[in-house]
């Protein structure tokens, strides 16, 4: 480890309603791989966005190569040598590898773009990284792993001194990860400072020199990796926060029937052999870190994405679900984490959204019975305590919590007995959160079966009767609430898979 190249000190950043970063510190040295860890929403990405100029910090200082700096956009950061390798690749699929690496700063010979030189330079970069990619290959033909290598090559070609890897291994195979690590070690040898964001505990142990842990937008501490254990890190990540009234016991009535049984569900890379049961009146929490495959499981189960194989039983009957139409027919409702895109039609009214999934029930032949529609919408506005001036209000004008209630009303109108809540309180403020929780409990008490996907440990521990933990597309554990602790959930969610 060499001298300090980058110091972030007392970085503070607020968004309306959220204190995203609260005086966070980070120090990166030349020739080190520095892990940045924390639960979902701990503020890792925000911190990196502040560094690379995507967000403007409220206060704090960034010192880079001995000088205080403030980048205004990614390009400025790039020019200075601070480069981020994104999880989502910013690539131009139809162009070649070399063309991608040098986009916007092509070598030229007269008016001609000197592709030969670009290919040579790209080749040199790859040689330096000891990897074998043909610079003339079309980008979209490469595997995701190779595409990532190209992003790294692009970063290096910017004469980067600090490279930030944002969950680089999420989409890679074991062999590709090996290759990635080789490159990262090489870069470390060459004296670059590397920030490595990942959830995979095993990787952290293998590749990093130091670990900085964040929690709820605050800096928790920095450890030397080889001197600390996995438990040390997990303890720092979950902290000693008192969780608000966690459930202590399973509230599902004894002997309540299984309403949904999923067996050996497979759908792409993110859902591998997932099986579970859901009982009437139960809230089944789905825990796991970002990218664990929970949303993908829900979408496959709901027919929103195609499933590869697996059996689904509703009330003991085997069913085939090929589209959301089928799922809805069997009484399954899905409340997406991204309400604006997948949940509601924002430019339409509360009433129109309420009856969206069950319009047939409100139609006399082809005509919509608007009176009846209005009645049911008003009924749910009242019973869910939705804050809206009238049911004719456009949903776009409601707050996040009230939008969520409209989506709930939509599925209740359809009489769905199985409800999948995907991050039910994301983007919802604290007061409204409690209301949503109360509603969910009430629904469960009324005999609805609920699957709740959540990345918030508090939420999982407070709401679930049982907990399914997923990690990298596989189910890694199932716990009754009475035996669940944050530590053992986190352990399952970060389990090494070989």
């Amino acid at each position: 480890m060499g001298e300090v190249i980058l110091t972030m000190k007392g970085i503070d950043k607020s968004f309306p309603g959220v204190h995203a970063l609260d005086h966070v510190d980070l120090e990166v040295r030349k020739g080190e791989v520095h892990a940045l860890m924390g639960e979902n929403g701990a503020g890792k990405s925000t911190l990196m966005k502040v560094l690379t100029g995507i967000y403007k910090k409220d206060s704090g200082t960034i010192t880079y190569e001995g000088k205080e700096v403030e980048f205004h956009n990614t390009r400025e950061a790039q020019d200075a040598g601070v480069v981020i390798v994104h999880q989502e690749l910013n690539m131009l699929g139809h162009l070649t590898v070399a063309q991608n690496i040098f986009i916007g700063r092509e070598f030229k010979k007269g008016i001609r773009i000197d592709d030969k030189k670009m290919n040579e330079e790209a080749k040199k970069l790859f040689d330096r990284m000891h990897i074998d990619i043909d610079p003339k290959e079309t980008m979209s033909r490469l595997t995701v792993g190779k595409q990532q290598m190209c992003e790294i090559a692009k970063a290096i070609s910017h004469k980067a001194k600090v490279i930030i890897f944002d969950e680089p291994s999420a989409a890679l195979t074991e062999a590709e990860i090996e290759e990635l690590f080789k490159i990262i070690r090489d870069l470390r040898e060459q004296g670059l400072g590397i920030v490595y964001i990942s959830h995979r505990m095993d990787e952290i142990k293998v590749i990093t020199d130091r670990v900085t842990v964040m929690r709820y937008g605050t800096y928790v501490g920095t450890l030397i990796t080889k001197d600390s254990t996995k438990d040390d890190i997990i303890n720092m990540m979950v902290g000693r926060v008192i969780y608000e009234d966690p459930k202590t016991q399973n509230m599902t009535p004894k002997g309540s029937p299984v309403v949904l049984k999923v067996e050996h569900l497979n759908a792409g890379k993110m859902v591998q052999d997932v099986s579970f049961e859901l009982h009437k009146g139960e809230i089944l929490g789905f825990s796991g870190l970002m990218g664990a495959g929970r949303t993908e499981t829900a979408r496959a189960l709901f027919g929103a994405d195609p499933m590869d194989s697996g059996d689904i039983y509703v009330n003991g009957q085997k069913v085939t679900i090929k589209s959301p139409q089928d799922a809805v027919k069997y009484g399954i409702g899905y409340l997406s984490e991204d309400r604006k895109r997948y949940g509601i039609v924002v430019q339409k009214s509360v009433a129109e959204n309420t009856t969206m999934a069950d319009l047939d029930a409100f139609a006399n032949g082809p005509f919509i019975d608007k009176k009846k529609e209005k009645e049911i919408a008003e009924k749910y506005v009242e019973s869910l305590a939705t804050k809206t001036p009238s049911v004719d209000q456009l949903v776009v004008n409601l707050s996040g919590g009230n939008q969520q209630k409209v989506v709930i009303a939509k599925w209740l109108t359809r009489n769905c007995d199985i409800l999948i809540f995907d991050e039910p309180t994301r983007g919802i403020d604290v007061g409204a959160k409690n209301e949503i929780y109360k509603l969910m409990n009430q629904l469960a008490a009324e005999g609805k079966a609920i699957i709740m996907i959540s990345s918030e440990m508090t939420e999982i521990l407070r709401m679930s009767d049982r907990i399914v933990v997923m990690c990298e597309g596989k189910k890694t554990g199932e716990l009754d609430i009475s035996e669940a602790t944050q530590e053992n959930i986190m352990n399952m969610a970060t389990r090494e898979i070989n």
Partner: protein, 336 residues
């Protein structure tokens, strides 16, 4: 359809036999040859030198339009105004020559210039004002149609014939030698294909056109002046439509106001048959050029086998749909 899972193009290195870039071109050339043989076999009249000349006559203006429209298509846009635009530019240029005694050279220059101006207009509407490309250019399509008719007052414009003074421009495309027509225009078109292939593959203009069609936001984030190059794609299209107007005026005796609708289908159809993807980013000038000949063969060949030229419109429409469907199916396969 919006899909939650981030599109990860799982790349495969085993290229299929009919690879998209080289492959589609290859197939299109085979289709051209097959069509030619088919027509030859079915009609003795078709097997004549004059037929070849007449196929080439049609190919000039369609090919020029198609080369031009390839650029907007590559940015994932389109230009529907090229057909009526061609007629409009030719009418105005010819009007100045015929009714105001302008020298032919000046008339030609004006024709091309107006093409460029409309290219700029289209580019601004699409790239700067964010209008849907098909809608903006549908409007300029109507505007150019009206404008052309207004300028000439509704009468056809006969550009000077080859024997008249100022008719030299007709010899650019066809010269008479011993009573035979030599279609030298083909040489110019081939030359332009080579030049524009170079522009597309080896200059910034081409590179950024493809990049915009591939991922506009990523291109912008790479520090490219996306707006400029986006507009420029339409300017190239306008310029080539101007050239196509000259080719059209040189081949046909008169230019009629109000015509030109439907030419754009021939050009866009040619480009898409030649492998230009509707979603932008993929395509080549040589492919477009090959695709144009499918259209031209249908246009000239169908009457020889007893079908009127109107069938060509129907068949071109169906072929267009078929090529787009192939493109969609290909992408679906790749997406998996």
């Amino acid at each position: 359809m919006a899909n939650k899972t981030v599109s990860k193009t799982a790349g495969t290195n085993n290229r299929s036999f009919i690879d998209r870039m080289g492959g589609q071109k290859f197939i299109v050339i085979l289709i051209v040859i097959a069509l030619f043989i088919l027509f030859c076999a079915m009609s003795p009249q078709f097997r004549k030198y004059t037929t070849v000349v007449s196929i080439l006559d049609y190919s000039y203006y369609i090919a020029l339009m198609a080369i031009g429209v390839t650029f907007p298509l590559l940015t994932a846009g389109v230009d529907l105004s090229i057909g009526t635009g061609l007629i409009c530019y030719s009418l105005i240029g010819g009007y100045l020559i015929v009714h105001h005694d302008w020298p032919t050279g000046a008339g030609i220059l004006v024709t091309i210039l107006i093409g460029v101006v409309f290219g700029v207009i289209n580019g601004c509407l699409v790239a700067l004002m964010d209008l849907p490309a098909f809608l903006a250019t549908l409007c300029t399509c109507m505007i150019t149609r009206g404008l052309g008719s207004i300028v000439v007052g509704g009468y056809g414009i006969p550009w000077p014939t080859a024997t008249q003074p100022g008719g030299w421009f007709r010899n650019i495309f066809k010269i008479q030698m011993d009573g035979m027509n030599i279609p030298i225009g083909f040489l110019w078109i081939v030359l332009l294909v080579i030049i524009m292939s170079f522009v597309l593959n080896h200059t910034k203009v081409g590179r950024y056109t493809l990049a915009i069609g591939s991922n506009k936001e990523a291109t912008r984030l790479s520090g490219v002046n996306v707006k400029f190059y986006h507009v420029f794609a339409y300017v190239i299209c306008g310029f080539f439509t101007g050239l196509a107007a000259i080719a059209y005026s040189a081949i046909f005796p008169t230019v009629q106001p109000g015509s030109g609708a439907g030419f754009e289908l021939d050009a866009i159809g040619g480009a898409i048959i030649g492998g230009v993807s509707m979603t932008g980013g993929v395509g080549s000038i040589t492919g477009t050029f090959a695709g144009v000949f499918v259209i031209c063969l249908l246009k000239t060949g169908l009457p020889f086998i007893g079908l009127t030229a109107n069938w060509q419109q129907i068949i071109t429409g169906l072929v267009l749909i078929a090529s787009v469907l192939i493109d969609i199916l290909n992408r679906k396969k790749e997406g998996k």
